[in-house]
Symmetry: C2
Subunit: 301 residues, 2 copies
């Protein structure tokens, strides 16, 4: 089971012809986790054919317009297109007021329900298969970074090993597969004899609109993918600090120190419209496994 990450909007602050405002979709089995929802996200979602009636959670990092103003339109469009599943939304204090005040003036008339959760730092949700943690980033206003951490999956089952031990296919295999030891013809057969070690789940971290900071270094530790603010290049390091953003080199330093597998550079400033790859080049010097996706590109992990 792999995870697909679709980059709906890879720009920041202002939309351009090439880069929409921030939004990333993580597809995991039959569920969609959306991180941020800038204006235009509904259109990007339709173009990416993600589907509008899936089990879905939206996580909003902070309440700056470029990260949240696409949410009302997405909510409306999903209803017009027949969504009937509940939509869960998580975001900082104020997210409820934002949605409630808009729904009062714009009259959604939704045919599905919305559950809005104001979050704090720490574990913000847990399912049978994963947990999501939020941590304060270092921006100008309260802004959360998120870590999606899959729980360990049972180890791989080796049918040839079970067969070699003479165990017939059927209920005994099932028991061994799920970690149970069995007694077969008077002998104890341990699950670990036919099943590999538990497989670590994936860890995916989303940290946009932040200066490089200890909190994110910690949150990103050993992540498979770190999506990090990369608004500016080395030429604008002071601007980055002033506005609560990072350069691609700073993102790369965090990725390296946190020992992540892959760094994704996002929130690219429109000022690099003509030469965004300058930012990628600078990051790769420090952390070679860096990528800078275009809008609607995706990766599988």
């Amino acid at each position: 089971m792999s995870i697909e990450i679709i980059f709906l909007g890879t720009g920041g602050s202002i939309p351009t012809k090439r880069r929409n405002l921030p939004s990333v979709v993580v597809k995991r089995k039959d569920e969609i986790l959306m991180f941020d929802c800038g204006e235009g996200t509904q259109k990007q979602m339709l173009l990416s054919k993600v589907g509008i009636n899936k089990k879905m959670k939206v996580l909003i990092s902070h309440l700056h317009g470029d990260h949240v103003l696409g949410l009302p339109g997405l909510i409306q469009t999903m209803s017009l297109l027949g969504r009937n599943k509940e939509l869960e939304i998580y975001g900082p204090l104020g997210i409820e007021d934002f949605l409630e005040s808009i729904s009062k003036t714009v009259q959604f008339n939704l045919n599905y329900s919305i559950k809005v959760n104001s979050i704090n730092e720490g574990k913000i949700l847990e399912t049978n298969e994963y947990e999501i943690f939020a941590k304060q980033a270092n921006h100008g206003i309260p802004c959360f970074a998120f870590a999606l951490i899959e729980k360990a999956k049972p180890g791989r089952f080796y049918p040839e090993k079970a067969r070699a031990l003479g165990i017939p296919e059927g209920p005994l295999w099932k028991k061994l597969q799920t970690g149970e030891d069995i007694v077969f013809k008077g002998t104890i057969i341990k699950s670990s004899q036919v099943v590999g070690p538990p497989r670590k789940g994936l860890k995916i971290v989303y940290a946009l609109d932040t200066r490089p900071c200890e909190a994110i270094l910690e949150l990103a530790k050993d992540a498979d993918v770190l999506m990090h603010d990369s608004t500016f290049g080395n030429d604008m390091v002071e601007k980055a600090n002033e506005y609560g953003h990072s350069t691609s080199s700073q993102a790369a330093n965090i990725a390296k120190a946190a020992n992540v597998k892959k760094l994704v550079l996002l929130h690219i400033s429109p000022i690099y419209n003509k030469n965004p790859y300058k930012l990628l080049k600078e990051a790769k010097k420090i952390f070679p496994s860096s990528i800078m996706p275009k809008d609607l590109e995706s990766i599988k992990i």
Copy 2:
């Protein structure tokens, strides 16, 4: 002096790859009049290179999301790009609450001022050169149609006629040009001897999200351009009525009865994505001077 109409978003309800949500820009001298502002309008505006620091008025027909949810992002982006001129916004009751509640949660930090006006039917604004009238359309909620009516301009000045009368170029020409009669070498020279009759100003009507109705027929009388709701085709006439919209044929009938010069079909439903020109064909049978612009196309009149 001509007027340019730029169709930023020609779709309705839901954005598609080809058609964005409703927004039309009327460029008149150094001023921009924007009619409606669906999600994605700021991007269309940037693509159309309309400019973000022009004298500008935004007129919102009604508070359904697809007509107004682009406004907060546009306001924010214009500030980020350095707008410093006041922005005037006109819309139905509720427009102030909508913008105020968003500005409270999303924190615009604008570097220009916004003047929001809740409007009623009748003349909603007047300048030296034009007036704008609003009239209730026939939709599901309060929804205004707008008529921009230019004041008559002075007639054309014929220098060759002035010269033939022996009048020297200079202050006397100026007087004649602006309608003043003069005495030249003891003879009364009437302005009308060298200046043509006053030229009628242009009349442009915007009527989206409405059933065909008497009010719009009246508002559109003799207009140079009527932009009319054309959500559906003849196959969906009942749906059009149910949802408070028009078919392209109904729009064409209004255009014909109102004796307009040109009909622009807008708010095209996504269901006609594959064959929108069916709607144009149906309209042209009734009113040949119909057009169905694509996004970002423009006309000059």
